[in-house]
Amino acid sequence: MRLALREVYLTFTRAPLMAMLGVTTIAFSLFAFGLFGLVAINIKSALLEIEDRVEIRAFLIDGAKDAQVEELMQGIKKIPQVADVGYVSPDSALQRARVELEEFRDVMDAAMLPGSVELRLKEGARDPETVQMISRRLQTYPVVEEVRYGREWVEKLYRIRNIAGITGTVLGSVFALVAIIIIGSTIRMAILARAEEIEIMRLVGATNHFVRLPYLIDGTLKGLAGGAIAAALAWTAVQLVSKHLMAAQFFAAEQVMLGIAAGGVLGLVGSWLSVGRHLRRAWRDA
């Protein structure tokens, strides 16, 4: 182990530029991936916020009886997709209207405004189909006069969400793939530079484990360093965006840790694969 660490140190001191290049490449590919992730989580949180406002409102007929309203409420509560439901009586509707539309407060009286039932849907049940299905169901109650929901709005929101989701998955996979390829080839380059050394180690009787260990440590360290730099870059980017453009979210601490760890794992896997290739090869022809 001590020898392996010395070898890692030697690799770095002998070819600092190469090592820096490796770390930088890993950092940038992870950073690109991270930026993408940031855009994705920000879009997602923005959509969630908007989605939260998706609600269905059922206006009731004039003179709806308490029993009828109660029946409706019970019926709604049985629909599994409903998050919560509230009854707005004609009186409270009037109160609300008077507050919201102050300039008309004097012309309004209770008779003008119908009572209504407002319901919000659970997360994941805010797609156009579910919204329509529920509003049709509400319409079957005789006490319901009209059901309203931002139909176009719900559909548009949902479309944005789908597009964002698909582009996210596609671009995310592309970035991840690119990151893996870059990291793999960076490490392979480093190993090619030391192919002769590996061969000589094997000739003098080094076990595969002995040969592999320094490279694995090297790859993991570079991956971790790259991950940390990528995280720092991403954080800086978020700060800049928040300051100059709009409030943006950064990853949670666990996600940052996960990202750095992913860098380490990528480095480990990349070096394992690249060094394995050399270990399988017999010595080169004289």
Partner: protein, 236 residues
Amino acid sequence: MSDILRLTNVSKEYPRSGTALRDISFEMRKGEFVFLVGHSGAGKSTLLKLLSMAERPTMGELRISGFSSLSIKPREIPILRRRLGIVFQDFRLLSDRTAEQNVAFALEVTGAPQAQIRHKVARLLTQVGLDSKATAFPHELSGGEQQRVAIARALANDPFVLLADEPTGNLDDRAKHAIFLLLREINAQGTAVLMATHDVAMITRSNLRFLELDHGALVHDGTDAARLLADMRGRR
């Protein structure tokens, strides 16, 4: 049984280039010095690869230092390699390490303690006559000196046999002779040497046993140098 290595009807075929060795049988005794001679492509390097178990025979059996090519496990190969010393025509030193670091390398891979390594490296470099150049890098050394470092490295783990693949091939006549004398000296101290070469003059002068390969077949095993001269001329 004083055989340290024995080949029984060994053949080696490559999928692309065909037969490299056919039906080779011979044995080497402890402390023996044997030449391996033949034109390039006759199979000398292939034979040395088989001996270090870098490759396995297609047919036949090779026994070396208690290991058989039929049963050796991959993880046992490093153990075998530590009992062999291998020397190449192109030295194969690590260019970014000094002479003593190159020699120490062979000991470090075995996990030997540092104090012991230092002591032993000094002794080995003295043995090959390079104690004054311990801290020189390979590019600061002549070809003959580099080969001495490579020999010191090969001797580091006290091998019972030294496999030398044209160790004098890249050297001028004087260095060639000096390396040969060094190998004889090492042999005199008990290490068997199998030296591949195409230097017929070296063989005829020394009157030692030689194995002659031609197109993958063993055509002579003995000391009849006159015959070797005739063979080499005849096949030219």
